[in-house]
């Protein structure tokens, strides 16, 4: 049972992480190739505090705060660049993050932080906490989606210049998306740090950023349910693949390519197509 709980907790964390990127990339249309940096910021903040004896639940607040603060700074910087320039700038953020962490003695340098205390409510408790966090964040994103903010995000994602023309305060909404998204990643990071109980710079690199972006795109950009399905599926994939461990990355890479080639609208698009076909019949 313990093994299943670990897998399920990992899935919950991945879903939270993917939902947080979905706010930035899905809702607001700002591509981020560096979202793992914020997972890392949350993880490091929470891990350092909990090693000092702060209870896990309390560390959520500074972990989210720290990630959102850096997210705000990156957001302000990102206001100057668009499209592909933005993609590469955010990619730079994740390289800067790992590059800086590697060289800081306090943060454990190359080796990372080991011996993060286990949460006092045990594995099942951690799973329940993760599930609650996912649920809370899910409600938040559904609420955003349905509010005026959601409409503003949509218009910015569709056509930034027209949105500006309509009198939408584009920078304000972009920054809001960055803050909400990076705070979510920080929360996921705090959970992640206590799930694996060992973190290092390599856990938050470019590959992790791509994996989470892949979850959002395979799910269907902007679709909440599609992203949840894709994140749960893709994060559990390595477990199914253990038999073919040697070819794991080969299969993963080809899967990404295949998904883009044959179903570029993602799971969301596939489901809609099926529903539409049913309706026609």
């Amino acid at each position: 049972m313990a093994y299943e709980i670990v897998v399920l907790t990992n899935m919950a964390i991945a879903v939270l992480f993917a939902l947080s990127l979905n706010v930035i990339t899905g809702f607001c249309g700002q591509v981020s190739l560096g979202h793992a940096a914020f997972l890392g910021i949350g993880a490091y903040t929470s891990a350092m505090l909990s090693k000092e004896g702060v209870p896990l639940i309390i560390t959520f607040i500074p972990a989210m705060g720290m990630a959102a603060l850096i997210g705000l700074i990156v957001g302000v910087a990102s206001l100057r660049v668009r499209h592909d320039f933005l993609a590469i700038t955010t990619m730079g953020v994740v390289f800067l993050f790992t590059g800086i962490v590697r060289k800081q003695e306090i943060l454990g340098g190359e080796i990372g932080i080991a011996g993060i205390p286990a949460p006092d409510f045990g594995r099942v408790g951690l799973f329940a906490t993760s599930l609650l966090c996912v649920l809370a964040y899910l409600l938040l994103t559904i609420w955003i989606r349905r509010s005026w903010t959601g409409f503003a995000f949509d218009s910015i994602a569709e056509d930034e210049d027209t949105a500006r023309l309509l009198g939408i305060n584009v920078p304000k909404f972009k920054l809001f998306a960055f803050v909400v998204g990076t705070a979510g990643a920080g929360l996921a990071g705090a959970l992640y740090a206590h799930q694996v109980r060992f973190i290092g710079p390599d856990s938050f690199g470019f590959v992790e950023s791509i994996s989470v972006l892949a979850m959002v795109i395979v799910g269907g950009i902007g679709s909440i349910w599609g992203v949840i399905l894709a994140a749960a599926f893709l994060s559990a994939l390595p477990q199914f693949f253990q038999v073919i461990d040697d070819y794991k990355l080969l299969v993963y890479g080809l899967l990404l390519f295949g998904a883009m080639r044959f179903a570029p609208e993602g799971i969301d698009g596939l489901l809609k197509k099926i529903v539409r076909r049913r309706a026609v019949k």
């Binding site: 592909d84 993609a87 700038t89 990619m91 730079g92 390289f95 791509i210 794991k248 890479g253």
Partner: protein, 287 residues
Amino acid sequence: MLFFDLCIQGVIQGAIYALIALGLTLVYGLLRILHVAHAALFTLGGYIGVIVTNGSGSFLLALFTSMLIVAVVGMSSYTIIYKPLLNRAPLISLIASIGIFIASEELFRIFFGAYGLSYINPPLQGQIEILSGVSLSHARILVVVLAIGLLSGVGWLAINTRVGIAARATVIDPQMAASSGINVEIIRYGSFFIGSAFAGAAGVMVSLLNNLVEPTMGAVPSYKALAIIVLGGLGNVRGALVASLALGIIESFGTIYVGHLLDRDSIAFAFLIMVLMVRPQGLLARG
């Protein structure tokens, strides 16, 4: 002499970056796609270089074979990856390209082993003293000569030949170019051919300088080359070359002077972000 040494290091590194970045920037100019899988071609070039040199004993033959094979593989990457996705959002091709790149690293490992390959008799190891106290191996000099030769060759083609003019027209406005009778597809295949061949050459040269090829050798150059073409102003060939050289030199000085704060690979991105904050359109704007 440290200053001089660092400059030379930077120029050599910059020459390698320039060879890799040229293909990326050509592809971006034509298709508006960030071609991450380009780095897999660089790795493939390195492998072919080592295998052919070890098999035949001729480094020159290896260099040519590698450039030719990699060029053909590069053209097929256009057919397989990008052509079916041309009408999709650029993000779709980007993820597809990253998928292929991840898969390719694994393929190299499966075919050639996880520990990499080396030259049995590394060629071009003789030293030349270019200044008192500063000597360079033939291989290092060849990198710079090759980069200058190949890149100025392409520059000459682009300026003086009909094909070059057609290619530049296609970059500026594909529709207009097509309606003036230019076969846009041929231009695209040609750009993939040249860009990939250069990446192959860079792979061979890096394999020679490190005397090692391994499955993951493409990872860092692929991200850095993306930074370079953005730095140069996406799709701007001249800008990409300037940025390659600048980045090579900044990295070699940076590792010495700020190496205790940032590792080598993040210096490139720190520089990139600083430049983009001042000039969001890159060092040289599109033109």
